[in-house]
């Protein structure tokens, strides 16, 4: 009987799937060639600039690298805060 540690728990735990998943992450970083901390810096500065004009939910901002074939793009998801009712 297979035990939990050594047994196969569906295809997700097969070594080929692990290899593919690990490679997907490694290749994103190899291709983008971004030094450590660049994504965090980008995120913080984007929030700063955009906040000057509109109110954003800074805790929910996400900056990612998306792949399309061999092309890469920065994708920013920046939720806006619900506008406050203007007080008079």
């Amino acid at each position: 009987m297979k035990n939990v540690v050594g047994g196969r728990l569906g295809s997700k735990h097969k070594s080929a799937s692990m290899a593919k998943e690990r490679l997907q992450l490694v290749l994103i970083h190899d291709r983008a060639n971004l030094p450590q901390g660049v994504m965090e810096a980008l995120r913080d500065e984007l929030i700063e600039v955009i906040s000057r004009h509109v109110d954003v939910d800074s805790s929910a901002v996400r900056i990612d690298i998306a792949q399309d074939g061999r092309e890469q793009r920065l994708v920013a998801d920046i939720p806006l805060r619900a506008p406050k009712r203007p007080s008079r």
Binding site: R8, S11, K14, S15, A16, S17, A19, K20, R22, L23, Q24, V26, L27, D30, R31, G69, R70
Partner: protein, 267 residues
């Protein structure tokens, strides 16, 4: 005649560049194409032994570049395949004995008389690699379905694109179908999805390759060998023939992707 220069490279060592060069060259030559294989791995000569021509070397590539002999004198004709020639690497020198422009000059001279010039690149991304890709009309990247080989292949694809030598074509070498079916080897379609370039061949893992290399006879010359057939298919595709891919356990969407290449492939 305007021959085509094809460079076989990989980044990582030991994935089968020299075997691929020898077998694609042998397959092209045995189909009647005038073919020259050049060993660009200066200091680590090996294409000669894989082709079984090591006892016939008099001059090498560095002798040509440095003017000690004419190009024809460094070309060894294979007696089994009269259309196949080898220009061996120097064994006692290093990569710096040759420059990218030397390679372009040698290949431009060969282009006039031969159909295919196949260059065996050294591993790595330094001078030897630069020398090998400088004259290329088409770059073929060899990889194995393993993390380190795929990662290095991706890096090489990026460098080839940066040099405006792309798009490169991919050979997946040493695919073990049993391991793929058990989920313990990255499937060909996954390698292709990760690297996002077009495929020119899948070569199954085959002990007979080692045996044929022991003998100095390219496996592509063995009619019944499956890996030999895979190399012959690559040669046919380079010739512009639409050869269907072998069934190596790929699913139908994968085969659709390949047929996309088949429609656009070849010239």
């Amino acid at each position: 005649m305007a021959g085509k220069v094809i460079t076989i490279t990989s980044g990582k060592g030991g994935v089968g560049k020299t075997t691929a060069t020898a077998n694609i060259g042998a397959a092209l030559a045995s189909s009647g194409k005038k073919t020259v294989c050049i060993d660009a791995d200066i200091g680590l000569r090996n294409l000669d032994v894989v082709l079984g021509l090591e006892n016939r070397i008099v001059y090498d590539l560095v002798d040509v570049v440095e003017g000690r002999c004419r190009l024809r004198q460094a070309m060894i004709r294979d007696k089994r395949m009269p259309e196949l020639f080898l220009i061996p690497a120097a064994q006692t020198r290093d990569k710096n004995a040759i420059s990218p422009s030397d390679m372009v000059k040698v290949c431009d001279e060969l282009r006039e008389e031969y159909d295919f010039i196949i260059i065996d690149s050294p591993a790595g991304i330094e001078r030897g690699f630069r020398n090998a890709i400088a004259p290329a009309d088409q770059i073929i990247i060899v990889t194995n379905p393993e993390v380190s080989a795929v990662r290095d292949a991706d890096r090489i694809i990026g460098l080839v694109e940066a040099e405006e030598k792309g798009p490169a074509l991919l050979v997946i070498n040493r695919l073990n179908l049993g391991m793929v079916q058990r989920g313990d080897m990255i499937a060909a379609e996954d390698v292709l999805e990760l690297l996002a370039i077009d495929l020119i061949g899948i070569v199954p893992e085959d002990e007979a390759v080692i045996v044929s290399t022991n003998r100095g006879v390219p496996i592509a010359l063995e009619e019944k060998s499956k890996s030999g057939q895979a190399f012959r298919n690559i040669a046919s595709r380079l010739n512009g023939d639409a050869v269907p891919f072998m069934d190596l356990g790929a699913d139908s969407s994968f085969l659709n992707r390949i047929s996309k290449f088949m429609r656009s492939g070849g010239d």
